[in-house]
Amino acid sequence: MSQTLSFYQDGTTWIHRLNPVTKLAFVAAVTIAAFGVDNLWWPALLFLLLEVPAAVLAGVAKRFVKLVLGFFAPFLVILFLLQGLTYPEPGTVLVELGPLAVKTEGLVFAGTTALRLLVMVSAFIVLLLTTHPGTLMSAMQQAGLPPKIAYVISATMQIIPSFQARAGAIMQAQQARGLDLGSGGALTRARRLVPLMGPLLLGALTDVENRSIAMESRAFGSPQRPTAFTIVPDSAAQRAARWAMILLAVLAIALHTLGVL
C-alpha cells in the first residue's frame, strides 16, 4: 500500500510553475472539447497534440505513460469486449457468434468512449504529476474555494495514508491471531471483513471529538477570511489563458454543431 496519495513528481519546468488553477482550466477545457465533439478521431488528436507534449515538456513522460496504461488498459479491454460483442443497437454485423455479434457500430462506440475517457484521465494525470496537492489547495483557496471545503479535501488527503497504515496494522494483527485472508467463498470473505473494519472505523471516529475541539479553539469556521501562508503566483496572462481555453472548447463544440469541424 502506498504511503502517500499524491502522484506528484518534483520538477522545475514551466508547466510545474504554472498556477494550478490554470492547469485545472486546461483539464476542464480538453474534457469539454473531447466529450462535446462527436467525431472518432478528434479526442485522439487532442491527446496526441496537447496532452502528450505537455507530459514530455514537464519531464514526466515515463510515469505518464505508466499511469495512463495502468489505469486504462484493463478498462479498454472490458469496454471493447462489452460493446464489441453485445452492442444492443442494430448495426452492420461483422462476425456472428451465437447470441454474440461483432458490429461495426459497437466497435466505433467503444472506440469513441475509450478515446474520450483517455483525454479526461490523461489531462488529470498531467495535472496531478506536475502539481503538489498542497499548492493545488492553496491556489484554489486563493481563487475563491471556501476554507471549509479546502480543509475537508486536504485533511482527507492526509488522513487516508495514516488510515491505510492503520488498516495494514490491523490486518497483520488479525493474521497473527490466525485470520486467513486468502481463501473461502463470498460469504466467508464477507464475514472476514468484520474483524478488519470494526477496529478501524471505531478507532477513527473516536478521534473526531478531540479534533473538532482543537479546531474550534483556533477559530476554525470564523467568517473572517484568513490570510494565506503560501501565495501561489498568478499572472494576468494566465488569467486570460484560462478564459481562452474554456472559450476555445466551447468554440470547438459550436463549430462542430455548425458542421465545420
Binding site: F35, I78, L85, P88, V152, T156, I160, L201, L202
Partner: protein, 319 residues
C-alpha cells in the same frame, strides 16, 4: 451554531435547491427524452457531455450550499467519513467482493448530521477520490449525493432506529442509486465498468435485449440494493457501538433520535424537555441515556419530540 457567517451572498438552501434542480434536469434530459444519439452515428453525441457537466455542476452547488453553514463538529467528521469510503472501497477490492462498499462513510454522516451533510460528504468523497487515485470515480459523485441525501431522510423518518427497517432503507436507497448511476455508466463510460464481474452483468443484460442504458440500470439493480443495505447496516452497528456521547453531539441525531428508540422513562422525558429548551448548549449525558429504566417504554414508541407525547406513551404502556 457558534460559527455561522454573518454575511452571505446567497442563502444556502438556494444553492442546494439550484444544485438539485440541475441534477434533476440533467437526469430527465438523459432518461426521459432519451437522446437518440446512442443509436447510430459515431458515438454518444451530446449526452455524455451533458451528463458530465450537468451532474458535476449540480454536485458542486450542493457541496457549496451544504458546507456553508456546517458546524465545525460536522466538518471534522467529514474527512474521516470520506477516508472510510475510500479505504473501505480499497479493502473491498483487495478481499475481492463483487460490491462497492464505498458509501459507508456517506451513510454514516447522513445518519449523524442530516441529509445536506450526507449529500456533501458523498459528493466530496468521489471528487477527492477522483482527483487523487482514480479520475473515473469523479462522475459518480451524483450517485453519492443521492445516497447521502436518502440516508439523512430515512434517519429523519425514523427508519434507522431498528435494524430491519435500516436494512429496508438501504435496499430502497440502492434502488434509487441504481437509477441515478445508470446514465453515468451508459453515457460516460459506455456501459463498461472497472470491475470485470460487473461489466459481465451488463453484457448479459445487453444480450437479453436491453439497450446500454437499460442494461446499466439493471446491473445497478442487481448490486446496489445489497451494497447499500450493507452500508446502512454497518453504519448503524458502528454508531451503536460507539459511546452514545458521540452521536448525541450531533443536533440532527439528537433531535430525531436516529438510533435506539428513546425510552419514555421519567428520566428520558425530563431530558427530552431539557434538550428542546437548550438544544445547542449541552449534550445529553450518555451514562444516563444508557442506563435509563426501560420498563415503561415499548420498542415501537415514537421518540419523545415533545414532553406530552412521551407522557402519553408512558401511560399507554402501563395501562
Amino acid at each position: 451554531m457558534s460559527n455561522m457567517p454573518t454575511t452571505r451572498r446567497y442563502p444556502p438552501w438556494m444553492l442546494i435547491t439550484a444544485g438539485s434542480a440541475v441534477i434533476i434536469a440533467t437526469y430527465l434530459y438523459l432518461v426521459v427524452w432519451q437522446p437518440e444519439s446512442l443509436v447510430g452515428g459515431a458515438g454518444v453525441g451530446p449526452a455524455a457531455l451533458i451528463a458530465l457537466v450537468g451532474y458535476l455542476i449540480g454536485s458542486g452547488l450542493i457541496i457549496a450550499g451544504a458546507m456553508a453553514r456546517m458546524p465545525t463538529s460536522t466538518v471534522t467528521l467529514l474527512p474521516i467519513a470520506i477516508a472510510i469510503n475510500i479505504v473501505a472501497g480499497q479493502i473491498n477490492n483487495m478481499v475481492g467482493l463483487p460490491l462497492y462498499l464505498d458509501s459507508i462513510g456517506t451513510v454514516l454522516v447522513g445518519l449523524l448530521a442530516g441529509p445536506a451533510a450526507g449529500a456533501a460528504t458523498g459528493a466530496l468523497s468521489n471528487v477527492i477520490w477522483g482527483i487523487s487515485i482514480s479520475p473515473a470515480s469523479l462522475p459518480y459523485s451524483t450517485t453519492q449525493v443521492v445516497i447521502g441525501l436518502l440516508a439523512g431522510l430515512f434517519a429523519r423518518w425514523g427508519w434507522t432506529r431498528r435494524v430491519p427497517t435500516a436494512v429496508a432503507a438501504g435496499v430502497a436507497t440502492g434502488v434509487v442509486a441504481a437509477f441515478v448511476s445508470g446514465p453515468i455508466s451508459a453515457f460516460i463510460f459506455g456501459g463498461a465498468n472497472a470491475s470485470a464481474g460487473r461489466s459481465a452483468i451488463v453484457a448479459v443484460f445487453q444480450t437479453l435485449g436491453l439497450d446500454t442504458l437499460g442494461a446499466s440500470i439493471a446491473q445497478g439493480l442487481t448490486v446496489d440494493p445489497l451494497d447499500k443495505s450493507i452500508a446502512f447496516l454497518v453504519a448503524v452497528i458502528i454508531l451503536r457501538a460507539l459511546p452514545s456521547r458521540f452521536s448525541q453531539r450531533f443536533p440532527f441525531a439528537r433531535e430525531n433520535s436516529v438510533f435506539a428508540p428513546r425510552s419514555a422513562s421519567v428520566l428520558a422525558r425530563a431530558r427530552t424537555v431539557d434538550v428542546l429548551d437548550d438544544r445547542d448548549r449541552a449534550p445529553v449525558p450518555a451514562s444516563i441515556a444508557a442506563t435509563a429504566p426501560t420498563a415503561a417504554g415499548t420498542d415501537g414508541a415514537a421518540p419523545g419530540t415533545t414532553g406530552t407525547t412521551a407522557a402519553k406513551d408512558e401511560e399507554g404502556g402501563r395501562s
